[in-house]
Symmetry: D2
Subunit: 351 residues, 4 copies
Amino acid sequence: MKKAKVAVLGATGSVGQRFIELLENHEFFEVTHLGASEKSSGRKYSEVMNSRWKVSADIPGYAKNMEIVNCSPEFTPGVDLVFSGLDSDVAGEIEMKYAQAGVMVISNAKNYRMSPDVPILSAEVNPEHLDVIQFQKTPGKIITNSNCTIMGVTISLKPLMDHFGLDSAVIVSMQAISGAGYPGVPTMDILGNVIPFISGEEDKVETEPQKCLGKVSGDKIESADFKISAHCNRVPVLDGHTVNVSVKLKKKATESEIRKAWEDFSGEPQRLKLPLAPEKVIQYREERDRPQPRIDLNAGKGMTTTIGRLRPDPIFDYKYTVLSHNTVRGAAGAAVLNAELIYKKGILEVK
Amino acid sequence: MKKAKVAVLGATGSVGQRFIELLENHEFFEVTHLGASEKSSGRKYSEVMNSRWKVSADIPGYAKNMEIVNCSPEFTPGVDLVFSGLDSDVAGEIEMKYAQAGVMVISNAKNYRMSPDVPILSAEVNPEHLDVIQFQKTPGKIITNSNCTIMGVTISLKPLMDHFGLDSAVIVSMQAISGAGYPGVPTMDILGNVIPFISGEEDKVETEPQKCLGKVSGDKIESADFKISAHCNRVPVLDGHTVNVSVKLKKKATESEIRKAWEDFSGEPQRLKLPLAPEKVIQYREERDRPQPRIDLNAGKGMTTTIGRLRPDPIFDYKYTVLSHNTVRGAAGAAVLNAELIYKKGILEVK
Amino acid sequence: MKKAKVAVLGATGSVGQRFIELLENHEFFEVTHLGASEKSSGRKYSEVMNSRWKVSADIPGYAKNMEIVNCSPEFTPGVDLVFSGLDSDVAGEIEMKYAQAGVMVISNAKNYRMSPDVPILSAEVNPEHLDVIQFQKTPGKIITNSNCTIMGVTISLKPLMDHFGLDSAVIVSMQAISGAGYPGVPTMDILGNVIPFISGEEDKVETEPQKCLGKVSGDKIESADFKISAHCNRVPVLDGHTVNVSVKLKKKATESEIRKAWEDFSGEPQRLKLPLAPEKVIQYREERDRPQPRIDLNAGKGMTTTIGRLRPDPIFDYKYTVLSHNTVRGAAGAAVLNAELIYKKGILEVK
Amino acid sequence: MKKAKVAVLGATGSVGQRFIELLENHEFFEVTHLGASEKSSGRKYSEVMNSRWKVSADIPGYAKNMEIVNCSPEFTPGVDLVFSGLDSDVAGEIEMKYAQAGVMVISNAKNYRMSPDVPILSAEVNPEHLDVIQFQKTPGKIITNSNCTIMGVTISLKPLMDHFGLDSAVIVSMQAISGAGYPGVPTMDILGNVIPFISGEEDKVETEPQKCLGKVSGDKIESADFKISAHCNRVPVLDGHTVNVSVKLKKKATESEIRKAWEDFSGEPQRLKLPLAPEKVIQYREERDRPQPRIDLNAGKGMTTTIGRLRPDPIFDYKYTVLSHNTVRGAAGAAVLNAELIYKKGILEVK
């Protein structure tokens, strides 16, 4: 199969850097353009990124000498798909332009997530949501992934919903600072501290999971019907969102039934052996003090969701803790996995 | 009024150090003995504590040259009261010996907290619980303070219970490492990390508040009837436990009614103008990102409980965040305030 | 004596906040104006600072309702002196305007530090440098304080120079993030990390101490003649610069002579009993693992310099470690102490 | 070639864990025994290590079910070589027993480092030091690696010594907490703090490099003749020691000559293509703010030494910063590389 030509939009940002890292030597995709804001365009990527490349010691070789271009279809001719790591204040307009130009848009921004014909695609959780993209009005289609905080949470909830039904959940997050991008959180605000507030986050956490776990109904996705209450906190952790979950189910379930539902959970990415698909979607840890961001962050190269501490809850039915890598599984990795899925299923047309 | 003679037991530990700091030049109390384990006894406090004094730059002058003694009544003759910062593995036996010897025991340990005739005294919340100590069988009486995590939480719940009744609460803590004592948490375990587990803590958080907020019934304290579900996490913060609370009330309440209940909350320590009583028991912060441990830790010299982010909860009625200083308000400070209360009310007999 | 009327310029920044804190209820100074950039002017200080006030829980009452004005003499009528916490990119022009308007300028910026008729004033170290300000051409005079990193170092070197002469010194700093202002260092750059570079810092560290320790010669200050080699590093510490010093002296000195020179060191601020003068200019710690920023930061309310670990050096003569509070002693506190000195000595004319 | 049978001594400690990780599927070595203290012996490794395994998410499969034995030759029959990650308080006696029993000892402990016939072997720096082990009196031989702090420093100094000669150096370290083992540094001591003292460390840093860079003279190693002055500091970094170096050379050198000497530096491990040999012994970074522990830690899988910021020094000739991974290159990785060297060169006899 021919590789698809892709551009990374927002290539200088935190998510853009992860895209560039994950797309090095990719089986399905060839990065032909790196897009960023006008002040960087025309300059070599390595020159612009001097001391701004943060995700590893070195910029991947293929990207070093690429010239940055503007984020607009006329500057990225020939691309089949764009990975958008753009900030939400510019993502709306730019992504729409690409869709209108017939380019597939894989977006990490929130702008179109709640549109009824745009999936919040989580490749193992709701691949059937791709059925609605045909109803989008533009020749190119927009596919989003969820907010980083709920990524691991929805993966943990999906098997519970399928087997036992969901009534309600309390979700309390302790979120890594990389979730705020770069420069993001000033050190003076978070070193040795906790900030019990993240702007706009609790709204997303209380609404996106229901859509992500919803059903296709004709030309749109209908949100699942269960309630969420969220507290979102920032903690001095570099990568990895840790989330405490209390959940009430519709049917009775034993601890071992829940453990089995998680351990058996697998999806299309695993069946199709997609390059970025983790062998285990969910890793349950027996140790009483896990998961922990520093230790479990890179399970399945950052694509596995780690769960631990399943135990009865005096008010809800069960409580547990879930961890996922917020900039890999929760952002760029999820987006690349989504792109791999549509490529392998032939939904992406490669010119 | 004559000063009471007191000993600090566990004087070399974290809580013991706070006791020594808070008792410097105290109006009511004169520290006559410092007790610690046998390997320290007979040595000067400053000599034993070289590089182990952690709560400030210098050991208070009065304590420097005191000779450490064993923690047993025969080694602390003449004391009216002991402040016990002993670990729970030795506190049970030693505290009982003192009570049998006719000495008042103000304890920070968990050993006797759940005994029906021992108050978990929080001076503003339940001073009437002192009525049961007369039913203790020993000539000296034991008075405990609560676990550090629930100290601020129970202070926040007390006005809610009085005005609106309590149905249930989810309590999620992000706890400072000083709560684990010294040496406590190894840096390798917590730097840039979160540990979603603290041994034994969730049990205490799910049971102590009900007793603390309970009623005296004859010779014992009956726990209040509401449910708590707890998640306890350790975070890389030095001092100050931050707690997310979701609460369901028995009666409807508006946000402004709740705010007023908190702002008006005051107790016997304030009326009696006890030395360590904070002017404001509760400080509500208007800023959307408060309370934060680093900024709000020392409100009221570490004795004020800071609350913020009151907002409606989609599952419960309201949610908010509460912060208190875990080794001051949550441990040594609470204990000293309890001692001040019994001294001022004449419950403590001074020889 | 009549209080001087003062303005704080750069009132919303990190150093500005410290000025506002230190000037609360000051014996000598009354803050009549708070100056900041145009986008803040006309608004109430507390409104602008919502969530930006970082140095303590609450803005001092006197400043809360003050209206912010532009940083220019016509907007701050009647002031005798300005405290400038302005960034160096704007400080040069604004401070000069004030000097031309006849206002005394106490500056924390680097712009005029190396001008021969402008003292880098360190009140205990070189009060005689005030003799040169008469030669400044403007009716108002400019007085600077040193870079935060060398403040404690020059205090430690002054008694050594006076008693034994200075030949050369290696100065290696581990600097707190507050030295970079706010928002300053992104958390992603420094959490669990060390950055062995601070822009422009090593140049200042290798040249300012010689001027600070220099002599008045007619109408200018001549730098002292000794060499410095500096390495400057950023570490994940909130406040407090820790500096390792290796020093070669001109005359032989024993450890006890050096210790005595430090312990005896006292200056005009102590003789004049200036409000912000620490009782001890230098505190030497006997413990083998001190000074440490967290423990020794607030010695003398942040105005004392703490030294420890004096020992022979195999290449130089001696080595030791020195710590000072970079935003108090190293910035706002030093500036206020300088202002107190010129007020008390009658150098500041109060209208 | 037949694999050598090896035991890991001190298998439950920090260095021991790294040994177990690095020896998974090793080409030359087969781990047949895991040795630890008596209280662990007889138990399965995975059982003992529950929640104590710190270096990654999972214990390597081969080690999980191995039964821990005592650290004594009679309990590890058939081993050709032992990797000792033992603490120095027990290493002396145990390692000697193994040497007397004819087993090759690759030690990370300090006990025998300064014995004239024991090399402080750094495989790229001084492979010729192996010539002296024949003069050891025991049938088995002891080979040590250097202290973790000087490992990267000696690698940076070796090409300078060879090309330009060494006169003297100031070495200031900012050391990661993993260097103190586990539990090691209490969080209360180092979070948001710097400790300017590490027990015994400065002595090692001022003497081991001279031996490591010395010459074989008959039956012993003679230390090189240059002076070092050291300051050692602990910083809140997990892994990776950052060291500021000021160095005086015997001959003049330009920056580009020094850079070339570093870039060309390569040794026997590279020529022999040893499994753990990094392709680049030294990586020089052009960025002005590098090396940094978090970013450069894993260069060459933790075996490459990263240098940056070479610049003239006003007192010495040059200054620069060097970083190496203290528990990989500075401990277990160096030891395994040493063992690979003697295996490949046929110095290790495999039974």
